[in-house]
C-alpha cells in the first residue's frame, strides 16, 4: 500500500517512465523523489521498530535452547530447530482445531452476513434511512467491549439459563448436556464476534452493485439462482475475499472465545490459548515463539493461495 502511494508520486527508476505529462528526464520529478522518501521515513521507521524488530526477536526466541541446569524460564540463544518439531508433535490437535474452528466461523459468518449485506446494500436502497439504521445496528455491538459481549453469551448459555433450560424442557437437549465449554459455543462466539467484519466489506461492494446487470441476466432468461451465481457473486467477490480474510485471520489466532474463562473448555483450546499458556504460565518462550511463527506462516500460505485462486490480487 505504502509503495503504491510512493510510486504514484515518483516512480522508482526501475519501472517504465511515466507515460504522460512528466517524462523521466524532467528534473522536477527527480527533485520530488527524496521528498517522498523523506515523507515515507516515519512509516518505515515505525514498521522497522514495531514490526520488524519484534519479528526478528520472535524468530530468534523460537530457536532458543533451555539452559543447562537452568531454572524455569531460562533459555539461551541457539539454533534449536527441534523446538518446531516438538510443538507440532505436542500441539498438532490445537493447530488443526484452530484452523477448523476459524474455517467454520468464517463459513457461518458469510452465510449470515451475505443476505444481511445484500438486503442493506441492494434491497434497502430505496429507503436510505432504513439503510443507515441497519448499518448502525451492524456496527452497534462495537460500542460494547468485545470481552463483555462474550461474557454475556456465557451467561446466556449457562446451565441454569433460560435458553438451556427451555431447550432441555423441549427435549431438544439431553438433560446432562451443556453449551458452554463445547466446540459449538466457541464457534458460535467466533462467528458472532466477527460478523461485523464480514458484513461491512460485503456491504461496500454490494452497495455499488449495478442492478442493471441483474436485469440483463433475467432478460436473457437466466433463473434468479443462475443470475445470483453468475452475476452477483462474481461482482461481489472483492467483498467476499476481504470479509473472509478479515474474519478468518483473527479467528484463527483468537484466544478469547476459546479461553476457559469465556466460552471454551479443556477440549476446545486453540493455538492462541496454547501460546498464552506457554508464554505466561510455563515460561516456555521458545515454544510460544515457535507456535506464533507457525501460526503466522500457515495463515500467510493459506491467504496467498486463497487470494491467488480467487484472482483478486489487484483488489487488495
Amino acid at each position: 500500500m505504502a509503495f503504491a502511494a510512493f510510486s504514484s508520486t515518483a516512480p522508482p527508476p526501475t519501472t517504465a517512465p511515466p507515460p504522460t505529462t512528466a517524462p523521466s528526464t524532467d528534473p522536477a520529478a527527480r527533485r520530488r523523489s527524496p521528498v517522498a522518501l523523506f515523507l515515507l521515513l516515519p512509516g518505515i521507521l515505525y514498521l522497522v521498530l514495531f514490526f520488524l524488530t519484534p519479528l526478528v526477536s520472535l524468530l530468534l526466541t523460537s530457536f532458543q535452547a533451555p539452559r543447562e541446569f537452568g531454572d524455569i524460564g531460562q533459555y539461551d540463544y541457539a539454533f534449536r530447530w527441534q523446538n518446531y518439531v516438538e510443538v507440532v508433535t505436542t500441539y498438532w490437535p490445537h493447530i488443526v482445531r484452530s484452523f477448523s474452528y476459524a474455517l467454520a466461523a468464517t463459513f457461518f459468518a458469510l452465510l449470515i452476513s451475505y443476505p444481511l449485506a445484500y438486503f442493506i446494500g441492494v434491497k434497502a436502497r430505496k429507503w436510505p434511512l432504513l439503510q443507515s439504521l441497519m448499518l448502525v445496528l451492524v456496527i452497534a455491538p462495537f460500542f460494547i467491549s468485545f470481552l463483555l459481549r462474550t461474557l454475556a453469551w456465557k451467561q446466556l448459555f449457562s446451565d441454569e439459563s433460560f435458553v438451556v433450560q427451555t431447550l432441555k424442557a423441549l427435549s431438544l437437549m439431553a438433560p446432562e448436556a451443556h453449551v458452554t465449554g463445547t466446540a459449538f459455543s466457541v464457534i458460535f462466539g467466533l462467528t458472532y464476534n466477527f460478523i461485523p467484519f464480514m458484513t461491512l466489506p460485503l456491504y461496500t461492494t454490494l452497495e455499488r452493485l449495478d442492478v442493471r446487470y441483474l436485469e440483463a441476466g433475467s432478460d436473457l432468461y437466466a433463473s434468479p439462482f443462475h443470475v445470483f451465481r453468475k452475476v452477483t457473486i462474481p461482482l461481489s467477490m472483492p467483498g467476499i475475499v476481504a470479509g473472509t480474510l478479515l474474519t478468518f485471520i483473527p479467528a484463527a489466532g483468537d484466544y478469547i472465545n476459546a479461553s476457559r474463562d469465556f466460552l471454551g473448555g479443556t477440549g476446545t483450546q486453540m493455538m492462541g490459548n496454547v501460546i498464552e499458556t506457554n508464554f505466561l504460565v510455563l515460561q516456555n518462550f521458545p515454544a510460544a515463539a515457535a507456535l506464533s511463527i507457525i501460526l503466522m506462516t500457515v495463515i500467510l500460505v493459506i491467504v496467498s493461495i486463497y487470494v491467488k485462486r480467487s484472482g483478486t490480487e489487484e483488489l487488495l
Binding site: 531454572d71 524455569i72 449457562s158 476457559r260 476446545t268 483450546q269 499458556t277 504460565v281
Partner: protein
C-alpha cells in the same frame, strides 16, 4: 531569578535532579545514545547471563514515598475511594503510598516485570504482594531484596507457623500480607447434601457441574491430600503423578468441567458449577453479596494454605520505607482494620482481639480467624525446585489445554 519548584511526583523529581546534575551537551548526548545502543545490544545478547542482579541504592531517607502493587479488593477502601489505613500511615510516618491494583495474576504480573528484574532495574514498584510459589521463584532468581528485621519490630506479631517457610528461611526476603485456604464449596440450594471430602466431588450426580482452580498448587494439593500425601512434607514425582492421573480421569470423564482462575466466581453465581475447589475469602464475599448461598469446608483430609507476601523488588530504591510500611501493617489494630474489609486470613497475632472492637461477628468467623483445629488441617504446598516446577506445570497445563 528563582527557579520553578520541582513537581511533586518523586520519580520525575529525581529525573530532573539527575538531569540538572549532568549538563548535557550534544557530544555527551551522542555518546550516551551510543552507549545506550551498545548496552541494549549487549542486554539482548546476554539475557542468558547467570549473574544475579544487585540491589538498588536506597534513597528512603530523602524520598518519602512508596509504590505498592497489589491485587484487587485486597485492602480497606472507603466510599470516597481512598484507603483509610494508608492515609493513617502517611499521617503517622510522612511516607505517601501510591497504591495500584496492578497484580491480576501472578504469572501475568511476573511476565511484565521479569526482564527488568533480571537487569536489576526499577520495575515501577517498591513493594508487591505475590503468592508463595512466585515469591519462591523470585528469591531463587535473586529478584528480591533482603529485609532488615531491625526496622520491623512488629514482625514479632507474625503467626508462629509462618515464621519459617522452606522457600524463605527466617523470612529474610518476604513477609506475609494476607492468606487463605483452598477448600470445597457447594451450592446449598441445588446440592443440599454438601461435601466432606474431595472424593465427594466425583459423585455421579455432580457430573459436569464441578469446578476446580487453575492454580496448580491448590487443585493438585487438595487431590494429593485426599490421596493421603502430606503436601508440606517430603513427596516426589510418584505422588504427584498419582494425583495427576486422578485429575486427568475426572477431566476426561467430563466430571470436572470448569478449570478457572479468579473468574470461577461467575460460574458459582450462574450455577454452571454446583460444587468446586475454591478460595475461602471469595466465598465470604460471594455469600455477603448473594445471601449465604454457599457452604464452605476445609476437607477432612486437609486443605491448602497459601499466603501473598510483601517482597521488595531488586531495583527498588525504597526498601527502608517499605520496611516501615510492613511494620505498620503488623500492628494488630491496623491488621484487624484490613481484615474486616478483605475477609482473608491475617497473619498478625492479636488481630482477632483487635477485631472484637470493630466487629465481633467477623472476629468469630472461622474463615477469617481460623481456630486451631482448622489451621492444623491446612497445609502449605512445599517449595518446588526449578526442574520440578517445570515438570509439574507441564503435566498440569497439558490437561488444562486438553492436549492429552
Amino acid at each position: 531569578m528563582k527557579s520553578k519548584p520541582l513537581p511533586a511526583d518523586p520519580m520525575i523529581r529525581q529525573l530532573i535532579r539527575r538531569a540538572q546534575n549532568s549538563q548535557m551537551g550534544r557530544r555527551t548526548l551522542l555518546a550516551g545514545a551510543g552507549a545506550g545502543a551498545t548496552a541494549l545490544a549487549l542486554a539482548a545478547c546476554s539475557s542468558g547471563a547467570t549473574a544475579k542482579p544487585t540491589a538498588a541504592a536506597d534513597t528512603s531517607a530523602t524520598d518519602k514515598s512508596i509504590r505498592w502493587d497489589n491485587w484487587a479488593l485486597y485492602i480497606d477502601v472507603d466510599d470516597a475511594g481512598s484507603y483509610p489505613t494508608l492515609d493513617a500511615f502517611k499521617a503517622q510516618t510522612g511516607i505517601s503510598v501510591k497504591y495500584t491494583e496492578a497484580v491480576d495474576d501472578n504469572n501475568s504480573y511476573y511476565g511484565k516485570v521479569k526482564d527488568q528484574l533480571a537487569l536489576g532495574q526499577d520495575i515501577g514498584a517498591d513493594v508487591a504482594c505475590l503468592t508463595d510459589w512466585m515469591v519462591s521463584r523470585m528469591i531463587r532468581f535473586g529478584y528480591t531484596q533482603e529485609l532488615d528485621h531491625a526496622n520491623i519490630p512488629n514482625l514479632a506479631n507474625l503467626l508462629p507457623s509462618l515464621q519459617d517457610v522452606d522457600f524463605d528461611p527466617g523470612r529474610a526476603m518476604s513477609v506475609p500480607w494476607q492468606g487463605g485456604f483452598a477448600g470445597l464449596a457447594w451450592n446449598k440450594e441445588k446440592y443440599p447434601q454438601g461435601l466432606a471430602s474431595v472424593e465427594d466431588l466425583w459423585a455421579a450426580d455432580l457430573k459436569g457441574r464441578v469446578g476446580v482452580l487453575s492454580e496448580m498448587r491448590d487443585t493438585m494439593g487438595l487431590i494429593m491430600l485426599d490421596q493421603g500425601v502430606d503436601i508440606s512434607g517430603d513427596w516426589g514425582e510418584d505422588e504427584f503423578t498419582a494425583a495427576i492421573d486422578e485429575f486427568e480421569k475426572q477431566v476426561s470423564d467430563g466430571q470436572i468441567r470448569n478449570i478457572k482462575g479468579n473468574s470461577y466466581k461467575e460460574d458459582l453465581a450462574n450455577e454452571d458449577t454446583l460444587a468446586a475447589i475454591v478460595w475461602s475469602g471469595d466465598i465470604v464475599q460471594l455469600n455477603a453479596e448473594n445471601g449465604d448461598k454457599w457452604g464452605f469446608i476445609v476437607p477432612e483430609r486437609g486443605g491448602t494454605l497459601w499466603n501473598d507476601n510483601f517482597v521488595v523488588p531488586i531495583g527498588s530504591p525504597g526498601k527502608k520505607n517499605v520496611e516501615e510500611l510492613i511494620n505498620y501493617y503488623y500492628d494488630p489494630a491496623v491488621a484487624a482494620e484490613v481484615a474486616a474489609y478483605v475477609n482473608y486470613i491475617t497473619p498478625v497475632v492479636g488481630a482477632k482481639e483487635a477485631m472484637m472492637a470493630i466487629d465481633p461477628a467477623l472476629a468469630e468467623d472461622p474463615l477469617i480467624f481460623p481456630d486451631d483445629a482448622t489451621l492444623a488441617n491446612a497445609y502449605v504446598f512445599r517449595g518446588l525446585d526449578g526442574t520440578e516446577e517445570q515438570t509439574f506445570n507441564n503435566q498440569f497445563q497439558a490437561i488444562l489445554l486438553g492436549a492429552a
